[in-house]
């Protein structure tokens, strides 16, 4: 009797969150999946509910969309590698080399930019990289030739790496913190050189941290469209920009849905890989 009531209580407790997930999250995903197989009448803009694979056929047959997808995935991967390289030295110092007060100060400094609007920070990069911008002003003052990174994929890479660096740094710091000092002592006692210790002890134990960070740097970059719009130039379109243009500009939701499916599949596959590397274990 009490068991039955307990079960009822559990169900009542679980119903709201699961109902929420099913209705709003899975529901919208399901509609997205459905509409990918529909079409739009070009003149009236009405969605025609006839089943067709035309959207997917166009995605495969037109090289444009392959190029856009390759660019999106390529830059997201490049940003992830860049952020791992940039995050390591600082994360190591914060996690293992400084006292608690300096550590707190450094962590606050890392998180500080996150308190300001992302748009403002992206626009700041336009001012830095612009033809008459801050960077060129310094370069010219130093007698060096000016750069013209503004509105190129280089600018995109720089800005993305900057935006997501804190998200790589934080998980890496917490992974490095959790390595017991005794393991490093043991490695030293067994005669390992510092490089051997790093390669065989520290680095493998930090992999879950990097995997967790890459979920942000890789997956979030994949879905971005604001940054390419603001600092990208000719030939900087991301999957998100094509989706945005098809929804907000052309009114072709079915095609946008079809392209979004590609994004979902890539991110889903990446999450599985990240999980294998321990991205979601502990925190």
């Amino acid at each position: 009797m009490t068991g039955g009531r307990k079960l009822l209580g559990h169900v009542a407790l679980l119903l709201p969150p699961f109902g929420w997930l099913t209705l709003f999250y899975l529901g919208s995903l399901f509609i997205l999946l459905l509409s990918a197989f529909w079409q739009v009448d070009p003149m009236s803009g009405d969605v025609v509910h006839d089943w067709t694979l035309d959207n997917f056929r166009l995605l495969v047959s037109d090289a444009t969309y392959r190029i856009v997808a390759q660019r999106t995935i390529g830059i997201a991967a490049l940003v992830t590698v860049t952020d791992i390289l940039l995050a390591w030295p600082l994360a190591y110092v914060i996690a293992r080399k400084v006292g608690p007060r300096l550590k707190l100060t450094l962590l606050v400094l890392v998180a500080l930019p996150l308190w300001s609007s992302m748009l403002a920070r992206i626009y700041a990069w336009r001012l830095i990289l612009g033809h008459d911008g801050v960077l060129n002003w310094f370069l010219r003052a130093a007698g060096l030739p000016g750069q013209s990174f503004a509105f190129t994929n280089v600018a995109l890479w720089l800005v993305f790496s900057y935006l997501w660096l804190p998200f790589m740094l934080m998980p890496l710091v917490s992974a490095l913190e959790r390595i017991p000092a005794s393991l490093l002592d043991a490695a030293g006692d067994m005669g390992a050189t510092p490089w051997q210790t790093f390669r065989t002890v520290i680095f493998p134990l930090a992999i879950p941290g990097m995997a967790a960070g890459s979920v942000f740097t890789f997956a979030v970059t994949l879905g971005e469209y604001v940054t390419p719009m603001l600092v990208g130039g000719a030939g900087s379109e991301f999957i998100g920009n094509v989706v945005y243009a098809n929804v907000g500009v052309s009114g072709n939701v079915p095609f946008a849905a079809a392209f979004s499916m590609v994004l979902l599949v890539v991110i889903g596959a990446y999450m599985l890989v990240a999980r294998r590397f321990g991205a979601f274990e502990g925190a």
Binding site: V40, M43, S44, D62, R126, A150, F151, G233
Partner: protein, 377 residues
């Protein structure tokens, strides 16, 4: 007998319904304003200079949404089943799509006094009048111009060729808009007459392939495709762009900000826009919509709009008002000789399968949108 009566009743009821539907389509008089007006318009088309007096006179509170392209305009007006707006300032390439999509309603021109003062070309143009039914009131029009920074050009360019010239690689900006394909088609019609392009909005697949090839070459030279007029202004201010395709609005804004830009209509001619105010098929404030159209069609507002945006009014009586607001401006914007000038511009229109020559081999707008995506990659 009973059957007959029923039939008669049904018939009369249906006639009444039809008559009512017609009355709903075309109001016979403009009633009192409903207190609100939702406007979807081009940037700069609902300026406080004429919105505030309108609100005071009519009590219709204006709620504005600005757009940067015709596609965006069409998408926005279709959102929520078209109930979100009352009036829209559609260009020729959006107007037909709105008419065929049943997003806008017929306009009773006898309620628009300024209609009689419109340029003859704009009274029933093909982009807002279908089978003799008016779906919009022609507003203002202008050309897409070539604009450059005089610091970068010692000799003023006279041809669109500069936008395809490797000498200006990395300093070019053009609009991010599928209708931009027509600009390249217009240029190709002059340099490659063998393609047989007669109308830049009526392109067959081989012609489109040639245009896309030209535009793909251009992509390597383009610094950035601009989506909003303010984007292009920023690019010229920062020095990232030195030459580009623009509206007179950007040239006016940049000159006011002290950036040394010049502009021209190149020898190949220009594409351009002719805008119409249209009323939503589901307008919740139809009286305010009519009041708004009558307000913006007055010579005074027509002149204010022309001067702030850098375009030509549709109302022929606006010339004197323009000169009163800014001496010489009537001539500058060709408002005095508008018919001859009008004929030099290839106005935006929606590309359709049916070419003007009776063939069905032309590409429709969805093909243009795909082609533009291929260009941008």
């Amino acid at each position: 007998m009973k059957g007959f009566t029923t039939a008669l009743l049904m018939a009369s009821c249906c006639t009444a319904l039809v008559a009512q539907a017609h009355a709903a389509d075309l109001p016979g008089a403009i009633g009192k304003g409903e207190g609100d007006l939702n406007v979807v318009a081009w940037e700069g088309y609902a300026d406080d200079a004429w919105v505030k007096p309108f609100e005071q006179q009519t009590g219709c509170k204006v709620h504005r949404k600005y757009v940067g392209s015709s596609d965006e305009m069409v998408a926005l007006t279709r959102m929520g089943g078209g109930k979100g707006f009352d009036v829209v300032s559609a260009s020729g390439d959006a107007a037909l799509r709105l008419i065929f999509g049943h997003n806008v309603q017929p306009v009773n021109m006898s309620l628009i006094p300024a209609y009689d003062d419109l340029m003859p070309e704009l009274r029933e143009p093909s982009f807002n009048t279908v089978k003799g039914v008016h779906y919009g009131v022609s507003y203002e029009w202008g050309p897409n111009i070539l604009m450059w920074n005089t610091k970068a050009f010692s000799v003023a360019p006279t041809s669109w060729a500069v936008l395809y010239d490797k000498a200006h690689a990395g300093a070019i900006t053009v609009p991010d808009n599928p209708i931009q394909i027509a600009d390249a088609a217009l240029y190709l019609a002059h340099v490659k007459p063998e393609l047989g392009i007669t109308d830049p909005y009526e392109l067959t697949q081989p012609q489109m392939d040639a245009v896309v090839a030209l535009l793909k070459d251009q992509r390597a030279l383009v610094k950035k495709y601009w989506a909003l007029a303010s984007d292009e202004v920023d690019l010229f201010k920062s020095g990232d762009a030195q030459v580009g395709s623009a509206w007179p609005y950007q040239a006016n804004t940049l000159r006011a900000a002290g950036v040394p830009v010049q502009d021209t209509i190149p020898t190949e001619g220009a594409t351009g826009w002719a805008d119409s105010w249209m009323i939503s098929a589901h307008a919740e404030h139809p009286n305010c919509a009519y009041l708004w159209i009558n307000h913006v069609m007055t010579p005074k507002v027509q002149a204010q709009q022309a001067l702030s945006f850098g375009e030509t009014p549709g109302n022929t009586k606006a010339c004197a008002e323009m000169d009163a607001q800014q001496p010489g401006s009537c001539k500058q914007y060709h408002a005095n000789a508008s018919s001859a000038y009008f004929a030099t511009i290839k106005f935006w229109k929606t590309p359709m399968k049916a070419c003007g020559n009776g063939q069905n081999t032309c590409l429709d707008y969805s093909a243009w949108q795909r082609a533009w995506q291929q260009v941008k990659q």
